[in-house]
């Protein structure tokens, strides 16, 4: 880790703006770091050194010409490989998109470019964002910088590991059931899922359209808020994008850093507070953090959200249902992998073989689940019922937010587990998202912020806020960060 790679995004932006360093130097430092450690971490699937340096040079040139720079100009960033980048390989961690170079930029990528942020490369992930350990990547797992024998969480393990391992100061993640927050928690970094519709999905390769939300990965709450602000805001290309002003998240993060939470009411979800299924170390770190928050002036009350118990099953009907339809387009006809087109097979056989060879086991499992759940005769019992549960969970949130400003919980029930520990039993893997999934079903924002260690491994605390009140969670997260500090992994 060099001096530059150890800095936060806010610090780097300040140095670049002041002319104390250049965007090219900062980008080069990160490319060097990647070259030095990524063989062991495997956070990246593709590094775009040329593209990143050219973007950095453009920022330096603009600065030299006296042009005004954005708040994150020159700060390099890693992008989860599920977000399209024009001309740069985008695989979503799947063999089926091997070699595909999108002809267009996702809206958030276009915003990163407009903000003068060099894109270092594309980060590893569970195939099509389905998984909680990045072990379902078709290109091999990512290793947790805290302990290379352990998983970095998922699906956005690559983005979290890149940030935790100082291979990027910032990264873009996407969160469908916890894919930003759970990796954030187990890598000791900050991960935020904005309000659904607060960040554009245009160019985000769909897993579950009604849940997918792009958001920031960072090492500090302020950095996350700055990135959040850079990518958020209405996008006419996404019908589900909210046409409203971006909540003042940077301002809230700065305000929270003062450490004063007087008058803020925090809700402990009863259903999560029992500690059942939660590792003792995680529970202990969480309870210490709650004490710390209380000392900052926050009032902590218990709130019952009775339908949260049904969130996991509802999620595992809705997300697979949508994915079974979203992933139908990968058939080898137009782009990506095509298998068995030898002149002897019919179109149907080629499509079928392509999908058989192109998709991994977890993706196939969810396509099967979703296809079944949407089938005529089963729709009402499965997809229809799950949508009703979703409504009830939303009502739980709405009722809870009448009593408290935000809800808090551990981000995930367990610390980073060893590779291979949960791949044999999908349900054990699904439990990783037990606390993060309700928020996705509701659509509100949530953030995971480091709150301490358990057995030397990071633990995250989750703050959940009402829709479009993303600023509230940043304030609480920044206050907690000011109390417990950031976490630094051992040197790689």
């Amino acid at each position: 880790m060099s001096e530059l790679t150890g800095m936060t995004a806010a610090q780097l932006a300040g140095l670049i703006a002041a002319g104390d360093t250049s965007a090219v130097e900062v980008t080069r430092a990160h490319l060097d770091r990647i070259a030095g450690v990524d063989e062991r971490v495997h956070a990246y699937l593709h590094v775009d050194a040329d593209g990143a340096l050219a973007a950095a040079q453009a920022v330096d040139t603009a600065r030299a010409a006296g042009q005004p720079l954005g708040p994150l100009a020159g700060v390099p960033i890693a992008v989860k490989d599920v977000v399209t980048t024009k001309g740069v390989p985008t695989t979503a961690g799947s063999k089926i998109l091997d070699g595909w170079r999108p002809p267009y930029d996702a809206t958030i990528v276009a915003r990163l470019r407009a903000a003068g942020m060099p894109i270092l490369g594309k980060t590893n992930m569970d195939e099509f964002a389905m998984g909680s350990s990045t072990e379902y990547s078709a290109y091999g797992p990512t290793y947790n910088p805290w302990d290379l024998t352990r998983i970095p969480g998922g699906s956005g393990g690559g983005s979290a590991a890149a940030v935790a391992g100082y291979e990027a100061p910032l990264a873009i993640g996407t969160d469908t059931g916890g894919s930003i927050r759970q990796p954030g928690a187990v890598t000791g970094t900050v991960g935020a899922k904005p309000t659904y519709g607060g960040t554009s999905r245009y160019g985000l390769i769909a897993f579950s359209s009604s849940l997918d939300t792009p958001g920031p990965c960072a090492r500090t709450v302020l950095d996350a808020a700055m990135l959040h602000e850079a990518i958020a805001g209405h996008d006419p290309r996404d019908s589900t994008s909210i046409p409203a002003a971006v909540p003042p998240v940077v301002e809230a993060a700065r305000a929270g850093a003062s450490g004063d939470l007087t008058g803020v009411r925090l809700g402990l979800v009863t259903q999560f507070a029992t500690g059942e299924g939660v590792e003792p170390g995680v529970l202990a770190a969480f309870r210490d953090a709650v004490d710390a928050l209380t000392k900052l002036g926050a009032e902590v009350v218990e709130v019952s959200c009775p339908h949260f118990d049904y969130a996991l099953p509802a999620y595992y009907l809705i997300a697979p249902s949508e994915c079974s339809s979203n992933l139908a387009r990968y058939d080898g006809v137009r782009y990506g992998l095509r298998s068995g087109d030898d002149g002897n097979r019919s179109l149907e056989e080629v499509m079928s073989l392509t999908r058989d060879q192109g998709f991994g086991p977890e993706v196939k499992r969810r396509i099967m689940l979703g296809t079944y759940a949407l089938s005529s005769g089963y729709y009402d019992a499965y997809y229809g019922q799950a949508q009703k549960v979703r409504t009830l969970i939303t009502r739980d949130f709405t009722a809870a937010f009448e009593q408290v400003d935000v809800l808090i919980s551990p981000t995930t029930p367990f610390v980073a587990f060893p590779l291979g520990a949960r791949t044999a039993d999908p349900y054990q893997m699904y439990l990783a998202d037990l606390f993060t999934i309700p928020t996705n079903l509701y659509g509100g924002p949530a953030i995971s912020v480091p709150c301490g260690l358990a057995d030397g491994l990071p633990v995250g605390l989750q703050v959940m806020a009402p829709t479009m009140a993303d600023d509230r969670m940043y304030r609480v997260a920044a206050a907690l960060e000011s109390a417990v500090g950031t976490l630094t992994p051992p040197e790689l």
Partner: protein, 501 residues
């Protein structure tokens, strides 16, 4: 299945009650596609009117076209439907290479317009056709199967896909089942599609051209033995690409089903393919093993909630219904019900209307469209609009006749060349030298020649047997190759022979 021993149509309708139903797809004429900004023009080079959205590239998202929603609501209103105050798009999931996403964004249990009707006129009588629903969806691409004998996927060695059409807004209009039309079922089907086409055209939301596929029709047909109450199993006939085919397809399917039922067979619920050349239908895919489309609400789009005031505004601004419009034209043109019906049956209302606008009398316009042009249309099995002759052409042609530059026979020759694309009537007349010979010097010479060659006939005419002049006229017409005006020739002959006409 053999279709050799078909019963007669009269026999079929005596023993069976047909129930028909029609599903019509109309491509809207919006400037841009349903969910992206790509242009919609017909006939562009393959795959030039595409973008990440209509190609369904990973990560792309649809945004609904407001103009298409407006057009659909106007169609619904013209068909007396209720407009939903809240509805959603749904995904229809099935695999097909001309569908970029392998699902079609359509509407399922929440259509934009429901429960309306359309009155159509059959033999001067109004038949009310119930409208089940009108909904909005996106069109698919077009697949061209190469290497097979049939042009269909079976037997093809290669398939080429053009995605220009993918994502063009498509309105689906579904009738309620139409029972009780008896032997007129084929006519009713045709009259409905004709009236629907006219209504949509009057709204200006589509060019509704069956030959270009902007109006496509599937015909459902079933037969119920007379005396039974439960309707028979229906088939869905596709590839019905002209108004004439609508009528023929219903009739063909009635005959086929009757012959199956007569021999103790069972009608299979299936898709059938209509063949324009032979006029019969063959089995397509069976619906009994049909795909489960796994419909669910499209999560990439927000619900549609048309504002009631806006809908009321659209309703108030609807144009006159074609049927009402026709009544007005009939009066203006001074036609009997029967004559007007012939015009309607020929699909010539608008053509005649436009020909009159282009400067011809109603009688002149009607003469051509219902005469020579209708005959040609019947012969070739084409629509009047597909003959290559426009209302402007007809008006110009009749103008040439009225001014004596062409006689009827020459005009028909000119028309043939116009239809063959050789130019406007005036251009054709000039290029081919088909104008009436009006140079009296040349005519007088021809007349004198005819008189000299037929002294006996000439003598009779001089003696007052004026009728005998006809033979001389014929001789002159022969030498002038028909390019003379017969009346002028006759007058000239009589005056040369000192006789009075």
């Amino acid at each position: 299945m053999s279709t050799t021993a078909l019963p007669t149509y009269e026999d079929v309708v005596a023993r069976y009650e047909p129930v028909i139903g029609l599903e019509t797809h109309v491509e809207l004429g919006t400037n841009t596609k349903m969910f992206c900004g790509c242009p919609t023009g017909f006939g562009a080079e393959p795959n030039t009117q595409v973008c990440p959205v209509c190609l369904g590239l990973p990560g792309s998202l649809p945004v609904a076209n407001k103009a298409a929603i407006e057009a659909t609501i106007r169609i619904g209103l013209a068909l007396n439907c209720s407009i939903a105050d809240w509805c959603r798009f749904a995904r229809k999931n099935y695999f097909y290479p001309d569908m970029p996403k392998n699902y079609q964004i359509s509407q399922y249990d929440e259509p934009l317009c429901v429960d309306g009707w359309l009155d159509v006129e059959v033999d001067g009588e109004l038949v009310r056709i119930g409208i089940e629903r009108v909904h909005l969806e996106e069109d698919t691409g077009k697949t061209l199967h190469v290497g097979g004998a049939t042009g269909r996927i079976h037997g093809a060695t290669e398939s080429l896909v053009d995605y220009n059409r993918a994502g063009i807004p498509l309105v689906e209009i579904v009738t309620k089942p139409i029972p009780g039309t008896g032997d007129r079922a084929p006519q009713v089907a045709r009259a409905y599609v004709t009236e629907l086409r006219d209504v949509i055209r009057s709204l200006g939301v589509s060019d509704v051209r069956m030959e270009q596929g902007s109006l496509r029709c599937d015909v459902n047909t079933s037969l119920t033995p007379v005396g039974q109450t439960e309707w028979g199993t229906r088939t869905e006939t596709k590839n019905v690409n002209s108004l004439r085919s609508v009528e023929r397809a219903v009739r063909a399917e009635m005959l086929r089903q009757a012959s199956v039922l007569d021999t103790g067979g069972r009608i299979v619920q299936e898709t059938r393919h209509f063949h324009e050349d032979s006029g019969d239908t063959t089995s397509g895919r069976s619906k009994e093993t049909a795909t489960d489309y796994r419909y669910f609400p499209e999560p990439d789009l927000v619900p549609l909630a048309p504002d009631a005031a806006w809908v009321a505004e659209l309703k108030a601004a609807l144009p006159e219904l074609p049927r009402v419009h026709r009544k007005r034209l009939q009066e203006q043109w001074g036609l009997t019900d029967h004559d007007m019906q012939s015009v309607v049956n020929a699909g010539a209302v608008e053509l005649i209307e436009q020909t009159i606008v282009a400067g011809t009398t109603p009688a002149g316009a009607r003469k051509w469209w219902l005469g020579e042009l209708a005959r040609r249309a019947n012969e070739s099995g084409a629509e009047l609009t597909a003959l290559g002759v426009t209302p402007a052409h007809v008006a110009e042609l009749q103008g040439l006749v009225d001014s004596g530059k062409l006689n009827d026979k020459l005009a028909r020759t000119v028309l043939e060349a116009v239809a063959a694309g050789e130019g406007t009537p005036t251009e054709v007349m000039t290029a081919k030298g088909l104008g009436v010979v009006s140079d009296t010097g040349a005519l007088t010479a021809a007349v004198d020649e005819a008189i000299a060659a037929n002294p006996d006939i000439a003598a009779k005419v001089r003696d007052g047997k004026v009728a005998a002049a006809g033979a001389l006229v014929g001789a002159v017409m022969k030498t002038t190759k028909g390019q003379a005006d017969a009346r002028t020739v006759r007058e000239l002959i009589l005056s040369r022979l000192g006789a009075q006409g």
